[in-house]
């Protein structure tokens, strides 16, 4: 019976695939591969790519994620320098920088997290005890810088500890996630907040009344000023009118009696307007009316 060449080819292919899985490995980007030969660490591959190894049990590969990871360490009650108990939760970004040291000194990633958390807690406690609470909570313009400086100092304290321990880990960032008081303190804070708000309400209403009063007073003042100014201007205007009239009256000097007569007749007309009511004694009803100004004697030319 003739051998089918395809059968042979497929068999070879399958064998190759099997060999590929046992003799090769891939390092993904963002990871590092630590090669152990008979259980001892012998090499590390940090660059992504395709590599060869001896099959197990001669060599084995441990892949480690070298990207930044977040670890949140919950706060524990710690006194500040000014004896205020606070709970500070922090989140650190950490990563493996030396895979060989990491595997040599730490049993597992879980072990790494636990040790890291311990160091963070320790550094946090020591750093908190060096600051006053008002360095973090204050309406001072430099509060933000103080806050950042505090985070940085905590990060540096942790980094120092890690360098000493030489775990092959570094801290990329440290960020405060929560700054809280113990439970008993919050009760007192509530009472204070309520009392402060009550005072503020009263103060606001009083202030409103005072401001309203000031506005009204100011308006009255302006009103008085306006009217005073208007009256002064009126006086000036009247004076100007009188002055202009006086200029015209110069003509009257030519014949003062005639001028007076004419003005008195005008005054009579103005005094006794239409529908004026006059009460006179019956015996001399028209006497008063007839007492009109006499015609002036005129000078001969």
């Amino acid at each position: 019976m003739k051998q089918n060449p395809w059968t042979g080819l497929i068999s070879v292919l399958l064998l190759l695939i099997l060999l590929l899985y046992t003799l090769c490995f891939t390092v993904q980007a963002g990871t590092a591969a630590v090669i152990k030969t008979f259980g001892a660490i012998t090499d590390v591959k940090k660059e992504p790519g395709f590599y060869f190894k001896w099959p197990w049990p001669i060599q084995s590969v441990v892949a480690l994620d070298t990207r930044i990871r977040v670890l949140t360490v919950p706060g524990k009650e710690t006194p500040t320098r000014d004896q205020k108990n606070i709970l500070l939760t922090v989140a650190i970004g950490w990563r493996i920088v030396d895979p060989i040291k990491f595997l040599s000194r730490l049993a597992s990633e879980e072990d790494a997290k636990n040790k890291l958390a311990d160091r963070v807690a320790d550094a946090r406690m020591r750093t908190i005890q060096t600051i006053a609470l008002q360095d973090l909570l204050t309406i001072h313009p430099e509060q933000a810088q103080r806050f950042d400086a505090f985070q940085k100092s905590m990060q540096e304290a942790i980094a120092l500890g890690l360098r000493e321990a030489d775990y092959g880990i570094e801290i990329e960032s440290l960020r405060i996630q929560s700054l809280a008081f113990p439970r008993s303190t919050t009760e007192k804070i509530f009472a204070r907040m309520i009392e402060e708000r009550k005072r503020q309400s009263e103060w606001l209403i009083n202030k409103g009344k005072k401001e309203a009063g000031l506005i009204r007073n100011q308006a009255e003042l302006e009103r008085e000023n306006l009217l005073t100014e208007a009256r002064a201007q009126a006086t000036i205007l009247r004076g100007q009118g009188d002055a202009a009239a006086a200029e015209s009256f110069k003509v009257f000097k030519e014949n003062p009696e005639l001028a007076n007569f004419l003005r008195e007749m005008d005054a009579l007309r103005a005094a006794f307007k239409k529908n004026t009511t006059i009460v006179l004694p019956a015996e001399r009803p028209l006497q008063h009316l007839l007492e009109a100004p006499p015609v002036p004697k005129l000078q001969e030319p």
């Binding site: 509060q143 960020r175 907040m193 606001l204 506005i215 009204r216 009217l227 201007q233 003005r263 005129l298």
Partner: protein, 387 residues
């Protein structure tokens, strides 16, 4: 039993010993006879069909395998390919991105692997529990509600809040909108880039709240505070060169709730009411002040107008009088008698006109009592009659 032993043994009848009598050779005629046997033919056909089916199945598996390695990139997605662990790059050194609408063929692992990512569109995450108390479901406060349940105290492990610069408590919730801009950084910089962003934004909020008083945060400078938080978050997520640290750029940080603790809510509402009242008092005073000033302006205008009218009248009258006198003197210059006659006539005429427009009441003789009845002369007659 060797060949030499065959002479010593006795075969049973019909026994075929291969040494003594080898089987007869299969002749072509025998084979033909076997092949033509119906049973054999049937078996051959069945076997041939099976192998054919197997080949077809194998072919289908290969085709299926090849098709399964082809992926269609849908709208809103992009794809990256890793080859032997490293991302495929374009000639400029940037990751090669497969855009929506394209088909991508990927060799099986460990040769290649495909990663599908959301395209650079906006996504959002909420910061809901980091500054919020733990509330039973039935008491859950949704966005837009005005108060939290009253709690006598806050357990720092479960009830979250932030402290203000004057060491008061506030609760808040936020929504962060962001965009994946650098896919390589997004995949390689951090294991969970969103977690990094969340931690950063929480820290920025805490820092900003810690530098402002509760009244400014809640009443007076809320907008400034929120703007500052958004700006700080946007810049903190970038590295010194301005590139997103973890491939993510923040678009917006929006506050969705800002409330005092439930126990103090009533007191805060009272302040809100007091602020409104203060505004109302001031607005009312302003309105009254404006009205008073308007009245004053009108009155001032009236005073000025009256003065102007007086001045105008006096000027006009004086000018008219002067003119009249001048005209008379000119007209009757050298004729005083003529002037006298003219004046006498003019006076009489004037008096006549004046008297025409008057109402005259005469007091009875010897009396100073005025009767204001419809007919004043009746009183005169009555008085005369009495006399």
């Amino acid at each position: 039993m060797t060949e030499s032993d065959h002479s010593n043994h006795v075969h049973p009848p019909n026994h075929r010993c291969p040494a003594c009598s080898p089987p007869p050779e299969t002749t072509p005629e025998d084979l033909a006879a076997i092949a033509s046997d119906p049973g054999t033919r049937s078996l051959s056909r069945a076997l041939a069909m099976s192998f054919t089916l197997l080949k077809i199945l194998f072919l289908l598996l290969v085709v299926f395998f090849l098709l399964e390695r082809v992926t269609y990139i849908e709208e809103g997605q992009v794809a990256l390919i890793r080859r032997f662990g490293a991302y495929l790059l374009d000639p400029s050194g940037r990751p090669r991105i497969f855009e929506p609408g394209s088909f991508v063929f990927v060799w099986p692992s460990p040769i290649e692997s495909l990663e599908i990512l959301p395209r650079a569109r906006e996504r959002s995450m909420t910061i809901e529990t980091e500054f919020w108390p733990r509330i039973e479901k039935k008491e859950k406060v949704t966005q837009g509600e005005k108060a939290l349940p009253v709690m006598q105290s806050l357990d720092p492990t479960n009830d979250r809040y932030h402290l203000t610069g004057d060491q008061n408590l506030m609760h808040s919730q936020w929504k962060v909108t962001y965009r994946v801009e650098d896919f390589l950084a997004y995949r390689l910089a951090a294991e969970d880039p969103e977690a990094m962003v969340r931690a950063l934004v929480v820290s920025v909020i805490l820092r900003a709240m810690g530098g402002i008083s509760i009244d400014d945060a809640y009443y007076y400078k809320k907008d400034d505070l929120f703007r500052r938080i958004e700006e700080d978050a946007k810049s903190a997520v970038l590295d010194p060169t301005g590139r997103p640290r973890w491939g993510i750029r923040i678009v917006h940080v929006l506050n969705t709730a800002l409330l005092p603790p439930g126990a103090a809510q009533e007191a805060f509402d009272a302040v809100t009411g007091a602020l409104s009242e203060r505004t109302r008092l001031i607005d009312q005073a302003r309105k009254e002040a404006e009205a008073r000033l308007e009245d004053a302006k009108r009155e001032a205008d009236k005073v000025r107008r009256e003065a102007e009218a007086y001045a105008t009248r006096v000027r006009s009258e004086a000018a008219a009088d002067a003119e009249r006198l001048t005209v008379l003197l000119k007209r009757f210059a050298g004729d005083p008698q003529g002037l006298r006659i003219y004046l006498e006539q003019w006076r009489s005429q004037e008096l006549g006109e004046i008297l025409q427009g008057m109402r005259l009441y005469l007091l009875p003789r010897g009396s100073n009592v005025l009767w204001t009845g419809p007919d004043p002369t009746a009183l005169v007659e009555e008085t005369e009659t009495e006399k």
